[in-house]
Amino acid sequence: MADDLKELKIELSKNGIFTTTLEELYNWGRKNSVWPLTFGLACCAIEMIATTMARYDLARFGAEVFRPSPRQADLIIVSGTVTKKMAPQVVRLYNQMPEPKYVIAMGACAISGGPFRDGYNVLRGIDRYIPVDVHIPGCPPRPEALIHAFMTLQKKIDEQALRGESRPRHLHADAPSEFPVPEFGAHGLEPAQNDEVFLNETGNPLRVIQ
């Protein structure tokens, strides 16, 4: 929003008049009701569970309901090592989520393969197949780190303009909502990565190369 409009809004609020825009209202609602998918892969999932419990209390951010079905979830937290055998299922779960959907890659394994990177059985980062919004390093990341990632995601949702080139993917009519599921090959997953997602250099991982 332009600066003079912001100033006008502040001026109006000083005089007891509350104004907002549809975009702000829409994003405010979206960012404060992000429902994650109940989905854990490895030890990072324990930290994710801790984050939702009383001490860290992710419910403060409107994310208290972990949905047991991808069809009701907005966010998939890839918490842990993604093995090559598990990768197609992760992509399939992501494909079954309705738009708008977001991905947090939690921990060293989910972002790069981590200590298992050179192994024969571990995928070198889930961002090879699905577009990741927030990467958190750590082995495992502390619950504070996951909360930070969550707040980063909220900020990102809040800043998404609903019009223009950088609008979220679900408002692009021709942007894909599903991504190809890798297949088990003779020597590894085929393809080894989805180049449209993995080597996206446009600056916005959600935007699609056209």
Binding site: K85, S112, D118, Y120, N121, R124, G125, D127, V134, H135, T152, K156, E159, A161, G164, E165, S166, F184, G185, A186, H187, G188, P191, A192, Q193, F198, L199, N200, E201, T202, G203, N204, P205
Partner: protein, 215 residues
């Protein structure tokens, strides 16, 4: 609790009761001194049954099956050879000359079994089975008919090392998927080239996560 006989005694007992069985003691020089018995393929199952059912041994529990990949090795040996060499005055003199000879030792795959007795509370007895080579003759007899607990672990050794266990009731891959062709725990395994380290788009990720990304 009865004491377990030494591997040498075990070898003697086995060979006395199973004529023709070739048992070799493989010594372990480390402080643990866990010596093992190398069995021949033909009598492996008979030996296993003997160890399981002998009233003093009763090795009724196979706790572990694993594989080892021994690569082809090349050893050099220095041998003294007598040769005719031209002497300082032109005549030929017999002299000892050192020659190095290269020896190729073919590699093999090895399946290892650790046996314990629940009844007698003793163990372990370690058995080894070796394949003929690493390429086309990678068969060893399965001991699953003797100890049911070998089933999944033999499948794992088959999956990761390519040891084929003859007589196994259900020899399929267990960790990798059907259709996977490599044996990833072999020492000469190379991961596929397209899996190599590709540069991550760090710059774009950084830009996207900051406010400046917004036009």
């Amino acid at each position: 609790m009865s004491a377990l006989p030494t591997v040498e005694d075990l070898k003697a007992q086995i060979e006395a009761s199973l004529p023709g069985a070739a048992v070799t003691v493989i010594p372990n020089g480390s402080p643990s001194a866990q010596h093992s018995l190398l069995l021949d393929h033909e009598h492996a199952r008979a030996v296993a049954l003997f160890l399981r059912d002998h009233p003093d041994l009763r090795l009724d529990f196979c706790s572990l099956v694993t594989g080892v990949d021994w690569l082809d090795t090349e050893t050099t040996e220095k041998i003294k050879v007598k040769k005719m060499v031209a002497g300082p005055d032109g005549s030929e003199i017999e002299q000892e000359v050192e020659e190095t000879r290269k020896m190729k030792v073919p590699g093999y795959l090895e399946a290892i079994y650790h046996l314990f007795s629940m009844e007698k509370k003793h163990g372990p007895v370690i058995l080894r089975l070796r394949t003929a080579n690493r390429t086309d003759q990678t068969h060893v007899p399965s001991l699953t008919p003797v100890w049911r607990s070998c089933e999944f672990q033999e499948r794992e050794a088959f999956d990761l090392y390519g040891i084929v266990f003859d007589g196994h009731p259900d020899l399929r891959r267990i960790l990798m998927w059907e259709g996977f062709q490599d044996f990833p725990m072999r020492k000469d395994y190379v991961p596929p080239a397209d899996d190599s380290l590709a540069p991550l788009p760090f710059a774009s990720l950084q830009r996207a996560s900051t406010k400046e990304a917004r036009p």
